[in-house]
């Protein structure tokens, strides 16, 4: 009889065998999963050495799904799972046994916790076996990769408290959850911590999404949700859904960056196209898919200007998105490589759509075809007090930037980094910032400000010159600017010297920001 745990050296073949034996799925089915190909390169990048197999693990999310559906099936599915823990150090079963028993061994708790890479829960199902997965993110590669929406997960392995900073992932089971449910479940893992809402299990998300749409399709077994249904699930946890069309790459990168930096993952709706095989058209639509956006890479050396104004946004340096794609794995890459997909719209006109590369492959006529994704809609789960959307601040800064460039202010052109932030995080950063003068620190740390703030940072050659803070909880017609952290006296003096035209309206875009400089003396 199998014991409560096993320790085996890591190898991709060993992992494949474990997934099959612990779930009861057929080996050839497990071998054919795209997840395994993804795990192979991911665990190589993380340097996995050892797997600890923890049996009879009770996973809360699977237990909810089990009690809502699987328990009533004639086939006797198990209610417990197996949890696989991964470590980047080598140790044996005997060494772990001695550590657990408190007997002398060379293996230490520090070695175990220091080399912990995370875990994968194996579900006892015939096909969709990858359950809750919490794996360390890719290394930041010298400040290129960012995963701002991650949080600490603290599994306990035989009394040892371990920590992994990540965002949970799981494969859709195609019964109680489709891709949209899995994407939303991952997004809630992040927003649940930031906004303190309950984190629903997959079956609870599907039920909440389908509750008001009884005629759309059956809730369970579930074959997919619409954005409208996902928006209902978001409201069910007490958040407000915000949808934005993201066919335009500039909007895609700017929006995802701004909210992700505020620790809010988004659900991205994609249209998937496989390469056509002649005489087929170049791209064939194979369906629509949803993923959770969890990170990005700032891989482009310089930002791309938004014409005709020449506005520079830091987010335009994004060359890759990292997404939790339930068909591929956690932090899967989607590259912004400038390629477009040509399709015909319903009126028969050819249109070109910006697209992303994916790790997907599909078989057609015996040929393996690559798949491209066209980003369609981003859905953001927001706390109700985050009322001012990103585009309002973007528009304000775009106009402000154009005015100050035309006014001949020094230190131009600025590159703008616009992101949502929480006041506590902003103040904690300022408290540790040696570059701020005493008056600037005092003004920022003691002033009454809202809990959520939009922060627009202006930089020249990577050096921060000013931070303009907007009240994210206000109404759009208000002045919005609550404070400016000024770091460049030359620029600040020039901003205060701009003579407004005689017909200026201080409520117009751009002038609202300059109005703050008119009304407030410099604090540096």
């Amino acid at each position: 009889m199998a014991g409560p745990y096993r320790v085996i050296p890591y190898s991709i073949d060993g992992l494949k065998r474990l997934l099959a034996t612990e779930s009861g799925a057929r080996q050839e089915l497990v071998d054919s999963k795209l997840h395994l190909r993804y795990f192979e390169s991911y665990f190589d990048a993380l340097g996995a050495q050892t797997i600890v197999v923890e049996r009879e693990y009770v996973d809360r999310d699977f237990l909810e799904d089990f009690s809502a559906y699987y328990v009533r099936c004639l086939t006797p599915y198990h209610k417990t799972c197996t949890r696989l823990h991964f470590f980047s150090t080598h140790f044996t079963s005997r060494q772990l046994a001695r550590l657990v028993e408190g007997s002398p061994t060379r293996l230490t708790l520090d070695q175990i916790s220091g080399s912990y890479l995370g875990f994968v829960v194996v579900k006892p199902l015939p096909q969709t076996v990858v359950g809750r997965t919490c794996l360390k993110t890719y290394p930041d590669d010298g400040g290129r990769r960012f995963f701002p929406a991650t949080r600490d997960y603290e599994p306990n392995l035989f009394g040892m408290n371990l920590t992994v900073r990540t965002l949970a992932f799981q494969e859709q089971d195609s019964v109680v959850a489709a891709c949209a449910t899995s994407a939303l479940w991952s997004a809630f893992q992040g927003t649940g911590k930031v906004f303190n809402h309950s984190i629903l299990s997959p079956v609870e998300i599907t039920k909440a999404a389908a509750r008001d749409f009884p005629l759309e399709s059956r809730a369970i077994p579930n074959h997919g949700l619409t954005m409208e249904q996902m928006a209902h699930a978001i409201q069910d946890v007490g958040l407000e859904p915000l949808t934005i069309s993201v066919y335009d790459e500039r909007i895609l990168t700017g929006t995802l960056y701004a909210y992700l930096c505020g620790e809010i993952p988004s659900v991205l709706g994609l249209r998937l196209f496989r390469e056509g095989i002649p005489p087929e058209p170049p791209y064939i639509h194979i369906g629509d898919h949803a993923v959770a956006v969890t990170g990005f890479s700032l891989g482009k050396p310089t930002p791309s200007p938004i014409e005709p104004s020449g506005f520079l946004l830091e987010a335009s340096r994004i060359d890759r998105l990292y997404v939790h794609d339930d068909q591929i794995g956690p932090f899967a890459r989607m590259c912004i490589d400038g390629q477009t997909v040509m399709i015909q719209n319903p009126n028969g006109l050819a249109i070109s759509l910006s697209s992303l590369s994916t790790s997907w492959e599909v078989q057609s006529q015996g040929t393996t075809c690559l798949v491209r994704a066209v980003p369609m809609v981003a859905l953001l789960p927001l706390y109700h007090k985050v009322r001012i959307p990103f585009h309002v601040v973007h528009e304000e800064i775009l106009h402000f930037d154009s005015i100050i460039k035309a006014a001949g202010c020094p230190c131009q052109p600025l590159c703008w980094d616009i992101r949502l932030t929480r006041l506590n995080a902003l103040r904690w950063e300022a408290f540790r910032d040696d570059g701020l003068t005493a008056p600037a620190r005092r003004a920022l740390l003691t002033k009454s400000m809202p809990r959520f703030v939009w922060r627009a940072t202006g930089r020249l050659d990577g050096i921060t010159l000013l931070d303009i803070l907007f009240d994210a909880t206000d109404i759009e017609q208000a002045s919005l600017v609550v404070h400016v952290i000024e770091r460049a006296p030359d620029l600040s003096a020039a901003l205060r010297a701009i003579e407004p035209p005689p017909d200026v309206r201080w409520c117009d875009h751009g002038w609202r920001v300059l109005g703050w400089f008119r009304d407030n003396a410099a604090a540096y």
Binding site: E216, T226, D288, S309, H391, D401, S402, P489, A494, E499
Partner: protein, 60 residues
């Protein structure tokens, strides 16, 4: 703030004040605002969600 930095601030501020008070400066700002509005309107149109996209089921 050093004395030199203060002087530099005064110089560039004075230049900005003169330029933005002049007719050419005002024209330049007006043209910049026009371009900003154009960029902004393009983005605004692209940001609008097609209601059909909200009712498309994600099934893959």
């Amino acid at each position: 703030m050093s004395k030199n930095a203060t002087c530099a601030s005064k110089d560039s501020a004075e230049t900005v004040r003169k330029w933005t008070s002049s007719d050419e400066g005002r024209k330049a700002i007006k043209e910049a605002v026009r371009k900003a509005r154009e960029s902004s309107e393009q983005l605004q149109a692209s940001r609008r969600v097609d209601p059909a996209d909200l009712r498309r089921p994600f099934t893959v």
